[in-house]
Symmetry: C2
Subunit: 355 residues, 2 copies
């Protein structure tokens, strides 16, 4: 829908696997001395005097992205962001990534070039080295697995498990936008599928569509923590929706949380579009996902240090009631239990909240 595929024509078989990898990665330069050996051997070699943090994420076609409206270059960029966000969430500095792509023969070389071009932009922007990967055939569509690597001093690591009762619950940025952006893209695509002459009009939706197609990594967070002289007691990135992430912190820190609906930071465009879809914006925040903001806890004594920071919002606090997590509803002070969403394939967007 959003890309012209007419120029896509070189079959992968023309290059073969090994020349293909060489071709796709030729513009990537190594930036870090910790990356001792990158692409071209059985393994990459790295060396760090600090602790190494490692994470993997798999993105599969038709689940995590739909190529009908997700441009391949954006997909490459987003794969890097999704991967590195797990490194940031440990309070570590991203250094390297490895990309494994399984791809069917229906993808020509030019499609892979687009994906790698997005990967390249993200690697440059976030100062990470592409040190390896794997490109294999698939009879079943496109699957991208990102292995993300970073480093951090042991004493600086922030786990999910360190939140204390009475800690403040804080989020960066605004939430729910990526989910509403997805809804808009899906709607335009449905219209396009039934009428190929239809020209999708995304004006008025730019912010949320950008949040979905080109999320940004919170690489700025460590500098902000340092400037404010705070260190989170627990932290997680918001990839699956706020409910799910909050439950992770709750479980692993052995605390409960009260979350205040009226405090949720939601952009005006997200609210307007949620209304268009007859959806409660809070539902987009709680169950939507893909915001790639950070959710963290701080001692209550840090409140004065962070209260005026424009990018931080205190949205609740921890309690001693381990495992008891509630949304305090706007206006009514009603306590609504927060339940798991995540990957159940049974998402019901009005399970917990009524519009």
């Amino acid at each position: 829908m959003l890309q012209d595929k007419n120029e896509y024509k070189t079959p992968i078989s023309k290059l073969g696997e090994f020349k293909l990898i060489e071709h796709l990665t030729q513009n990537f330069k190594i930036k870090h001395s910790e990356s001792i050996y990158s692409i071209g051997d059985d393994s990459a070699v790295i060396k760090s005097s600090k602790n190494t943090v490692i994470s993997t994420d798999t993105l599969t076609e038709a689940i995590h992205f739909d190529l009908a409206y997700f441009p391949l270059k954006h997909l490459g960029y987003k794969a890097v962001v999704v991967g590195l966000s797990d490194i940031i969430a440990m309070n570590a500095v991203p250094k390297q990534i490895m990309i494994s792509i399984a791809v069917s023969n229906r993808f020509p070389v030019e499609a892979l070039e687009d994906i790698y071009s997005g990967i390249h932009v993200a690697c440059e922007k976030y100062n990470v080295d592409l040190i390896g990967g794997d490109t294999t055939a698939s009879k079943l569509g496109l699957v991208i697995t990102v292995t993300s690597i970073g480093e951090v001093d042991e004493k600086e690591i922030v786990y999910r498990k360190g939140a204390n009762p009475t800690d403040l619950l804080v989020t960066t940025g605004d939430l729910g936008g990526a989910f509403m952006g997805l809804k808009v893209l899906q709607r335009e695509n449905v219209t396009f599928q039934s009428n190929p002459n239809f020209q999708p009009d995304l004006s008025g939706y730019e912010y949320i569509v950008q949040k979905q197609l080109k999320p940004e990594l919170r690489v700025d967070i460590q500098k902000i923590f340092s400037e404010l002289e705070v260190k989170p007691t627990a932290m997680i990135d918001i990839s699956d929706g706020l409910s799910s992430e909050l439950l992770h912190l709750s479980k692993q820190s052995n605390v409960g949380f009260n979350l205040y609906e009226e405090k949720l930071p939601i952009d005006n465009q997200t609210i307007t579009v949620a209304d268009e879809f007859n959806l409660n914006p809070s539902t987009a925040v709680l169950n939507g996902g893909e915001d790639y903001e950070l959710l963290f806890t701080l001692p209550m004594s840090d409140y004065e240090k962070i209260r005026n920071h424009l990018d931080f919002t205190v949205i609740g606090h921890a309690t001693e009631n381990s495992g008891a997590n509630y949304l305090v509803a706007r206006g009514s002070s009603q306590l609504i239990p927060i339940t798991a969403q995540g990957w159940t394939n049974e998402k019901n967007e009005s399970d917990n909240l009524e519009n």
Copy 2:
């Protein structure tokens, strides 16, 4: 064909993603002090005083395995071997793995239990820690990505690039068996598909079927090198077939190779079955793949040290003719150029050799 699926019935959605991961990984224990934090946070944390080697491999259904004849437990086991083989090929010691699985809803929980049970057996056998991973939905079958991690002193690393002209070319074990095992399994499966009452009979094929379904990792190699007091100048694992691996060594070391057909170590069962399939056994060795043996080079002066080792076979030597790689045909001394195979989807098994 080889497994009873009647007892497979619990839908993944019953557990949900997070409980599923907990359930599947509950029996895995951490064995290494270098594995500081494993499953359950945004990233795993490791710490090594040596260099860290990292590799990823993706196995996709219908390309790397066919579930009609590949038991899931074996698949889990093999995924670990495939991954760790890249660590061994750097002369490093495997320490950790991460497993990402994308799986469609047609797979019940019990199927994933089988895969993880195979992963568990391999982790225990090869003394590695499962430190993380990702389990995601797929609309497109089963895809497994293994991220393998090991450590090695910088001076002990063996790259592909260090071979010198006149070096000996050596392989471990015997070759071509995994490929012929695959051929047998595929043949039995075709018969089974056309007659579901057919009982596959694998007697007489045990060795090669085992090579395909349950390859073993050459974790013994470092001890052998140490005992023989040798260190390879270059090394690679044989995953894609001997031709392809030899061409990698040739390219990256800037040498050529002469490979002697009559020296190729081939098991009798492999030869017999190749004959059954009207195939030259050397073709199975050169183009087959999945042997997971090691191909390495040694200075000619090491010949006396290794010549009597039962598991090593000198199969050729490097030359100064960079990029010129030949098979010296059995009996005739005819030089046949060795060309790339790998992933071209255009494999022609009699391209280079006639039966």
